[in-house]
């Protein structure tokens, strides 16, 4: 009995010591994956994921607390990129991706209250007080933050119009 306990204890101590020494020589810096994840996110700080901004979302992803599908404006492409970066496999067939969208102002309802332009994270909405606002297409990320702010429901999201340059061949029908 005593010899058994002694043997196990000795072995534990010896192996533990060896591992402790090894750990000192093989120490690794924590993976700077957080920054890489943040660079993949859209960076529009729209907050639709439930985190304050993209940096916080990236931190949550790195900690494994958030799903790679957390970013609605990013759609499938970003979820895929995040999954690849994190080295995990996810089924993305369920991720809704209606393609990029764009905010538009219904000019006949807009009262020119300026609330939407204050929340726009990319300064994509222009217009002075009491003037009808307008959305700069190139700057709008389609995050939808302005939609909720509009008191008269004059703002809505529409899919980007398809043009010759943007048209994509459909996938052939499955055989």
């Amino acid at each position: 009995m005593l010899s058994a306990v002694g043997t196990l204890t000795t072995m534990g101590l010896v192996l533990g010591g060896l591992l402790g020494t090894a750990a000192r020589y093989l120490a690794v810096e924590e993976n700077p994956i957080e920054a890489e994840l943040q660079s993949l996110l859209p960076g529009s700080q729209c907050g639709q994921c439930g985190y304050v901004g993209c940096a916080q979302a990236a931190a949550a992803l790195a900690r494994g607390e958030a799903l790679v599908t957390l970013c609605p404006p990013g759609g499938k492409a970003i979820a895929e990129a995040l999954a690849a970066k994190l080295g995990i496999k996810v089924d993305l067939s369920a991720v809704a991706d209606d393609g990029p969208r764009l905010a538009v102002v219904a000019e006949e309802i807009c009262t020119g209250c300026c609330r939407c332009s204050k929340v726009c994270s990319t300064d994509a909405i222009v217009g002075a007080a009491k003037q009808i606002h307008n959305v700069i297409r190139e700057a709008c990320t389609g995050c939808g933050a302005c939609i909720e702010r509009c008191p008269t429901e004059a703002m809505s999201l529409v899919p980007l119009p398809v043009t010759l340059q943007h048209w994509i061949w459909p996938m052939p029908a499955n055989v």
Partner: protein
């Protein structure tokens, strides 16, 4: 060609479809009478759309500038008939999507009055830069189908000191014979154009590659080039896609264009024979590109052949001119291997269209696609050495990165793989879909990068605003304090004065 050549000289890639070129290629060139109305699209070339400079209701002559080039890569367009600009709006584009694009509509006055042209008796006395300028002003673009503005290629060739001009007379697409026709009928013009292009880019030698299924064109070109030893006529084996730049360069010079590089970087530049003829017209006669030869062919066409057509003519009008045996079961713009399926014929002809094919029901029959049996036919046929079956399998399962890993980006969409596939899998459509999807992702990435910059700019702005606000507040407070102190001081002074 003997058996020895067949076994050892024939390229290992490519396919050999029935060419169906005759009898259309042998029929004499016909002229289409000026149509009552032409639709001149603003975007008939790679790059930015041209910007209209005419007004609705304005009278224009044939060859008059309608819209000027806009941006670094662009080309102007000119009136193909004389008449009145009736409107500027959208027409259906000659594109598989069936979407619309901008065009200038001209009602013809049937007079066909040309503008005053500026012919040059001796183009070789002009500087290369001047030739390039005149070619650009005439709106000449690659007429083989690539529609890249030719003048830009001239300057590129000049800058990279290209020594060899390759003239593409391959015309490997079945059914098409417009290049064949232009070489047979106007070999002198083609050779003159070749020499002008050589002068413009400073090339020492021109190799004219012509597939050996066009003996008449080879003979005509040899005769026309007899006086110019620097223009060499080189028959090449007829094998699709011999008319693709990279394959023709390899067949004629043995050089391979590196991936992601331009042909000019290996010292060659490729121009189509029709483009060379257009350069001849533009520089020697001063005539802008407003007409071209179009092959009309296919089982549904009653009198197939090559027609000289003003640009902007509707496909329907051209088909009506040639007559139809039956309603076409499939209407194709370009050749059957790479051409665009048209939903209807109310589409204008543009600079890059070398043919219209109207298939009858038998030609248009499509066998049902089956599962891939991994037979490897596509791999053997691919002129780029790709593995189409693997790329398609990855794309089908949604793994675009996997497809890119199999060099999807090197695919030239020649259609050899889908042509030989015994399961009739629409491989090219898989690749087109994936390329479009990748381009869209790239756009999204650029967009989100821009958004990121804007968001950062906004943060800086907000910070600056709040800082300025704070500073302003501080300043105001200081002023107020100072004013107060001043008031107090003056009050005490006043008091002092009073006391």
């Amino acid at each position: 060609m003997g058996y020895f050549e067949r076994i050892f000289k024939e390229p290992r890639w490519g396919v050999h479809p029935d060419d169906h070129k005759r009898p259309a290629a042998d029929a004499a060139l016909r002229l289409l009478p000026p149509p009552a109305r032409v639709y001149m699209p603003l975007s008939q070339h790679v790059g930015g759309a041209a910007r209209p400079i005419v007004l609705v209701g304005q009278q224009v002559h044939k060859g008059q500038l309608l819209a000027e080039a806009q941006g670094n890569i662009s080309a102007p367009i000119h009136a193909p008939v004389s008449g009145k600009v009736s409107s500027i709006g959208e027409v259906t584009a000659p594109h598989a999507s069936g979407l619309g694009f901008g065009a200038i509509v001209i009602d013809s006055d049937f007079a066909d009055r040309w503008i005053d042209t500026d012919p040059v008796a001796d183009p070789f006395s002009l500087s290369p830069e001047e030739i390039t300028r005149r070619t650009a002003a005439a709106g000449v673009v690659g007429l083989g189908g690539a529609t890249f503005p030719s003048a830009l290629k001239f300057s590129l060739g000049k800058r990279l000191a290209v020594g060899t001009l390759i003239v593409n007379g391959g015309e490997c697409e079945p059914y098409l014979s417009s290049d064949d026709r232009i070489m047979r009928d106007s070999a002198d013009q083609v050779v003159d154009g070749v020499r002008i292009v050589m002068h413009a880019i400073g090339a020492r030698v021109a190799l004219v590659g012509i597939e050996d299924n066009k003996p008449e064109a080879i003979a005509a070109m040899r005769k026309a080039a007899a006086a110019y030893p620097e223009v060499r006529i080189r028959p090449v084996p007829s094998r699709y896609p011999m008319g693709s730049d990279k394959q023709l360069i390899q067949a004629l010079t043995g050089k391979e264009v590196p991936a992601d590089a331009r042909a000019a970087e290996v010292g060659v530049l490729v121009h189509n024979v029709s483009t060379c003829a257009a350069v001849h017209q533009a520089v020697r006669l001063g005539r802008p590109l407003v007409e071209r030869i179009v092959t009309v062919n296919g089982g549904a066409v009653a009198r197939p052949g090559n027609i000289f057509v003003p640009l902007g003519t509707q496909v329907d009008e051209l088909l009506a001119f040639c007559g139809l045996n039956e309603a076409p079961s499939r209407l194709i713009l370009g050749g059957p291997m790479m051409g665009t399926l048209l939903a209807h014929g109310r589409v204008p002809l543009v600079k890059g269209v070398s043919g219209i094919i109207a298939f009858d029901a038998r030609e248009a029959a499509v066998p049902r696609a089956g599962p891939c049996v991994r037979c490897g036919s596509c791999t053997k046929a691919c002129p780029m050495g790709l593995l189409p079956l693997e790329m398609a399998a990855h794309i089908r399962s949604g793994d675009l990165a996997g497809a890119v890993d199999f060099s999807l980006t090197d695919c030239i969409a020649c259609g050899c793989c889908a042509y030989v596939c015994p399961s009739h899998i629409p491989l090219v459509q898989y690749f087109s879909h994936a390329k479009g999807e990748l381009a869209a992702r790239e756009r999204t990435r650029l967009r989100s990068e821009a958004a990121k910059r804007l968001a950062e700019a906004r943060l800086i702005r907000l910070e600056r605003e709040s800082r300025e606000k704070a500073e302003a507040a501080a300043r105001r407070q200081a002023e107020r304090k100072a004013a107060k102190a001043l008031a107090a001081a003056s009050a005490s002074q006043a008091q002092a004065v009073v006391t």
